[in-house]
Amino acid sequence: MAGKGKILLIEDDVNLTRLYEKKFTKDGYTVAIAYDGWDGLKKTITEKPDLVVLDIILPKLDGLALFKKMRSQTETFNTPVILLTNVGDEDAIYECFKLGAVDYLVKSKVTPDQIVEKIEDFLAERGK
């Protein structure tokens, strides 16, 4: 399958990465994974993802800082980002929105289906 596109998942929790990887793959996406901020930032360039699903609390480099760096480098300047957050990350979410995040999803509230729905909506929008 040529697939619907490539998603870079930057998330340090192994359980969640496995879950999302499974869901995204099942739904026809190619998935790249990074478990920390530095690796994630590197992969935003090397993996050339169509979309990044980004956790906020990350080792080495947190999501907000990573997002800022993405926006400052030409290769990733336009790469869309969906934030994966927890209750209580409001400050970071607010910051990210100012930097142009596509949307945010609260991990404990959202279902994998809803995430995929968001991704599909967005990529479809973009494909137009």
Binding site: D13, L16, L19, K23, V87, G88, Y94, K109, P112
Partner: protein, 695 residues
Amino acid sequence: MENDNQETLKLKVLYEISEIAAQAKDLPSLWTPLLNKVLQVLKVDAGTLMTIEGDFLVRQVAQGLEREIMEEPPIPSAKDGISWKAVETRKPQVILDLSKEKIASEKLAEAGFHSLVTVPMMVREQVIGVMSIFSRKECHFSEDDLNFFIIIANQAALAIISLRSAEILGENRQRLSELEALNQISKSVATLFDFEETLFSIIASITKMLRGDKGVFALFDHQDHLLKAQSPSFGLSPSQIRDFRTRNDEGITGQAFCKGVPIMMAELDEETKRTLARAKITGVKSMLAAPLKVKSQTLGVIQVFSENPHNFKREDLRLLTILSAQAAIVVNSSSMYREIAEERKRAEALLSSIGEGVLAIDKEQKIIHLNKAGEKITGYLAEELLGKNFLATLGLWTQEKKPVEAENSPVSQVLKEGKPVVIKDFYLKRRSGKLFPAYLTFSAIYDADNKIIGAIVIFRDITYEFELAQMKQELVSIATHELRAPIAAIKGYLDMILKGDMGEVKGEIRDTLEEIVKINQQLADLVDDLLNVGRIEQGSMSIKLQTTDLNHIIDQTLQEYLLQAEDKKLHLSADKKTMAKVKADPARVRQVLSNFISNALKYTEKGSIQIITEEKGQEVICQVKDTGIGISPANQKKLFEKYSRIKNDQTRQITGTGLGLWICQRLVEMMAGKVWLESEEGKGSSFYFSLPRAT
């Protein structure tokens, strides 16, 4: 003069000198009469008295000298001179012809003085000053004269030092609450004067002088109105001292005390015998007793016993009278000292038994006391801090570890205003230089006139509590963060399974999985609530106030709950009576509103849930009104407490943490609003929150 007569005269002089000391109300009023008496006795017209004050000889009084000499500055020890020579050699210095000697001030010779004698004033081998006499005529001082002068000088020294101790003691008695006083006394008086030893030498020499076998002081105890023997004694055992006590009208002792006159008894009366028998003092055949008087007060009695009948003579009575005057001053100082020392010990014991650091500072913020616990906490020995500035040594740092400025420090505040100050989580510096968090209480110390004279600082090292609180916070934060991810993963997998991503799921398996989804959601809610509580309590909950469209938030939130309402066949709607915007944090408003709506959904089985907004003054009020089970008045009160959950048959099936309303209330309060409710059992409840209108 007949020898005996001369001896009596000398004794009379000594008596007069101690009388002068006993009459003097303070040191300044002692100098002039004392010197005058000395000059009169020695038949000279000029003299001076100097005391050692640190490294200087300070002139206290002078008579018959030119103004120029009188006004000479204190003499430093570095300067050689006749006076310091007397101090150093401890021997009288005689200059017969002042015009030939260079060691004395030239001004003396210029003023026409011909000769001079300077003698050291000594108490217990310690020189406390010098006394000098000057003569315009050519004088030849005989050895007898010199010896008499020395005796007079030493008697004067004893008078001075007794008065000085009495003064220090008396002064400080009035300020006993002041710790500084306690310190001062223990230092100055104890080094100044060894009472035990002095009292012993007094009682021993008196007993010997009067050819007695035993001698003891009996002091009047104001508590039980008895005269009681006191150590040190001459020739009595400790148990005899302990057991010697008599009524103040009993026997010779009592009479001497009551009448205030010395009494001699060649043969003992029955009462006196009984008194002695009580203390198992045997073999006494005759005795002398004289009152110990200081100013107008009689302190007790000095007694000398003899195993010979008719041991004492009439003259002995007079001698004892003279000696007892001197003894009285020492006894007085001694008993005052003892009382104060005891008080000090009690205070010290109390302070050192306190686990908290106790520090006293004076008006100048200098440290004047540090207890044992304080030493342990700070690592300093009290001696290292005494006399030093509080802020310059232990310092004071704010919660942000910024040094507190002297003018605005709680120390200055307390010293100025007198109101106690309590501060938590400020830092002090240990001797090692490390800061430690402390809980501090500052309170003022007042003198008898209600003037602030210092402050007491009680401090506790809260490093442990601090670490514990931090650990607790970290634990909650780690636990909640670490719990969230697996809960979210479980939720995700369950969702995928139920959506059929892994194949069709039906029947009992589906029902069970749906049950698990609910349980998992409870866990997720609990973790979120705990995290919120933790943040509110830590003060790290951030609130970003902005102009917020409340109705927009209501619309969004309603959408999230429409499905749930539909499932329960409840009518969920909004009634917007105002379009006014509020000043609030939209995320927090949504959180509060979600909580109210989900509660309403939980506790309502039929009917409707309505969200109403309206304006009232400067506020916008949002009401979430349901037609649910309602809450009894008693339960309404408890509702906003942490972990409060109302348990009855109707609510047993409903899950929750009991934290939601507590969190909502705090959040709304942080946005300057209020939360309240109205409810009637069986009819329904209305939960309200108000927020300030945006301007």
